[in-house]
């Protein structure tokens, strides 16, 4: 049975004057998937999301949600999606319950405010205003408000930006819970570990174009050097000899005297490395195999760091 396409983006282009924010992007998202759009600031992530949501009009190309074209049937699309905007606040003088109830009224179907607050661990704050919430609580509330219409598709624009590690982890659990409820989630982020943990598939975006689209595991495995061996020896190591070992693509020296070997296949390189060490009577104080991450994928694909 073919998977139902919940979101279809076809040749999307968005220009602001002479600036091309999105330059011919196409992708599809299946029902029940958590789909990540990854990229540095200014890559066009938010523009793509807001076009699918019906907040911006495409310069050319089109976006479909649940088979409906956003630009042609915006109200029908909006009724069935939930949106969390980057850095948006809510009314100052209403309580959390009142805000959720008011937003619920804007939709044909709604989830009770109490239920949403319990789900997000904000039941105690039901009668507080948003100004009384911590950063993490605010973000959870923002996502709770995005669920008020029991949406089939949830859009999260950089949901964990600006949160401390603990609040970030709590939010990840919450997003996984939304996923388990059977909702399709599409999120943008510039945190690689977030994408690796949450997303079934990720699109890597750079300067308005998708440079790669696959599962995080595939993206890493397809790197020229998907592993790195991290070494610390008693004496200095001759770099050219390490580079000549089987499967080694490149070597470099890190801080504190560590050597790094980028390699295609650890099952070839490790035995070769150990044989070489024995023949040279080199003793390793530390030896570690580190799999590459999406960070490395991004670096390899664009030549840039994801975060500056």
């Amino acid at each position: 049975m073919p998977m139902e396409k919940v979101i279809q983006v076809e040749n999307l282009v968005r220009r602001y004057g002479s600036l091309v924010a999105v330059n011919g992007v196409s992708f599809e998202v299946d029902r029940g998937e958590v789909f990540g759009i990854l990229g540095p600031n200014g890559a066009g992530k938010t523009t793509i999301l807001e076009t699918i949501e019906g907040l911006q009009r495409p310069t050319s190309g089109r976006t479909l949600v649940l088979g409906m074209e956003t630009y042609k049937e915006p109200l029908k699309v909006k009724a069935r999606i939930g949106v969390q905007l980057q850095a948006s606040a809510y009314f100052d003088y209403l309580t959390l319950t009142e805000i959720l109830e008011l937003f619920g009224r804007l939709y044909p179907q709604r989830i009770p405010a109490r239920h949403l607050l319990e789900q997000t661990g904000l039941a105690e704050k039901a009668n507080a205003t948003v100004s009384k919430l911590s950063g993490g609580q605010k973000q959870r509330f923002t996502i709770a408000a995005a669920l008020v219409n029991d949406p089939e598709v949830v859009f999260l624009d950089e949901p964990t930006t600006g949160l401390d590690p603990q609040a970030r982890r709590q939010l990840w659990e919450f997003i996984q819970q939304i996923h388990r409820e059977g909702r399709t989630v599409i999120l943008t982020t510039h945190f690689m570990e977030e994408a690796e943990l949450l997303c079934q598939r990720v699109a890597i975006l750079d300067k308005g174009k998708i440079v790669a689209l696959d599962t995080p595991a595939h993206l890493v495995r397809n790197l020229p050097a998907p592993y790195e061996i991290k070494l610390l020896a008693e004496g200095p190591l001759p770099a050219h000899e390490l580079e000549a070992l089987d499967g080694v693509v490149a070597t470099y020296k890190g801080e504190d005297g560590f050597h790094f070997l980028k390699c295609t296949d650890t099952s070839q390189t490790l035995p070769a490395l150990l044989r070489w060490a024995e023949s040279r009577s080199v003793r390793f104080q530390q030896l570690q195999v580190v799999p590459a991450t999406l960070e490395d994928v991004f670096l390899t694909l664009t030549g840039n760091q994801l975060r500056d």
């Binding site: 909006k78 999606i81 905007l85 948006s88 606040a89 809510y90 009314f91 209403l94 009224r105």
Partner: protein, 360 residues
């Protein structure tokens, strides 16, 4: 859905203390201030009589003066001191009665001069009061000549409407109240909603934008009526303001005027970068109207050209028409010029508000 939006808007306005202050406390403070100062009460005239005669006629004269309302007679001052008090403003007049007044008057060789010294700083008061003294002198002359008065004057008071300065200021304060509340209040709300991306968040829902604004405007129109009623009530019940015409006409006038002010608020919100800027821009718009459009002073005291320009600001026709229906008991249709200016403002300000409004 409209009802829930309206309810939420009313709740938010009621919980925003700062906005409420501008809406109610600010105009009410003015009501209390103008209510407490009785600006219509005539000032007492203080006169010192230096009586060098101390006889029948001079005593009669002093007794007569003392009976005049609002005249306070001082007889204890010697001439030099009285003159000094006149110079430094402590007294309004000094009347000097020469010695042997009765004897010299009865002798009748030539008129005995009574000297009235007056301060020239208040020519109007001096003129009126010297008339009173002259009249007194004339009747004394007649009596001394045993002449019978041939003409008499009957003073008959006609019951006229007593319109005080406070009566005129009260509608002005109502106009000022709804103006500041709407321009600054609406402007700040628009700026906050844009700054905090609340508009954008609302745009992600199937809510129709027109419905959202309809609820906002309805909430604020309702509030402006309540606001006007409270200010009128405070003036009428606490400080006995007179209202001769129909309060209903005044409230009917509040509606189109408030639509204009809300539109100006939308414009303020459209051009202001943030809430602080919205408040300053709103003040920049309302404070000149507050002083020039006749809230406190009649506009006919202004230079002609300026008065003409000011007449076309939205607050002026509102106040003119409101004073007309309340103080002159005229029906609303007696003010077609004012209504035409208000109508033109409703149209122009609506077009501008729609043209310049932006969500982001």
């Amino acid at each position: 859905m409209f009802f829930h939006l309206l309810l939420a808007d009313l709740k938010m306005i009621a919980r925003n203390r700062q906005a409420l202050f501008w809406a109610l406390a600010f105009p009410l403070i003015f009501v209390v201030v103008f209510g407490l100062f009785d600006l219509d009460r005539p000032r007492t005239i203080r006169i010192a009589v230096v009586d060098q005669a101390q006889d029948k006629i001079s005593k009669g004269l002093i007794l007569g003066l003392a009976q005049i309302e609002l005249v306070h007679v001082v007889t204890s001052l010697p001439e030099a001191e009285a003159r000094r008090a006149l110079l430094n403003g402590g007294l309004g007049f000094v009347l000097i009665i020469p010695p042997d007044l009765t004897a010299r008057a009865q002798q009748g060789a030539e008129p005995v001069p009574l000297t009235l010294l007056h301060s020239q700083s208040q020519p109007e008061v001096s003129h009126q009061f010297s008339g009173v003294i002259r009249q007194f002198v004339d009747s004394a002359n007649l009596e001394l000549n045993n002449a019978k008065p041939r003409l008499a004057m009957n003073l008959e008071g006609v019951e006229s409407q007593d319109i005080t300065y406070f009566d005129g200021v009260l509608p002005g304060l109502v106009g000022m109240g709804i103006m500041t509340f709407s321009v600054i209040g609406m402007g700040s709300v628009i700026a906050v909603y844009r700054e905090n991306r609340i508009f954008k968040r609302l745009l992600t829902t199937p809510l129709r934008v027109s419905l959202f604004f309809a609820a906002q405007i309805t909430a604020r129109l309702l509030l402006s009526l309540v606001q006007a009623l409270i200010i009128f009530a405070a003036g009428i019940f606490l400080f006995d303001a007179h209202v001769y015409g129909s309060l209903l006409w005044a409230l009917v006038l509040v509606l189109p005027a408030n639509i204009i002010f809300l539109n100006l608020g939308f414009l303020v919100g459209a051009f202001a970068k943030n809430v602080e800027a919205a408040a300053s821009l709103g003040n920049l718009m309302t404070v000149p109207m507050m002083f020039f459009s006749g809230v406190f002073f009649p506009t006919d005291s202004l230079p002609k050209a300026l008065a003409w320009v000011v007449g076309y600001l939205p607050l002026s026709p509102l106040l003119d028409a409101m004073r007309g229906v309340l103080l002159e008991s005229q029906p609303l249709w007696e003010f077609p010029g004012e209504l035409a200016i208000l109508g033109a403002w409703v149209v122009v300000s609506s077009v501008l508000a729609v043209r310049f409004f932006r969500f982001e």
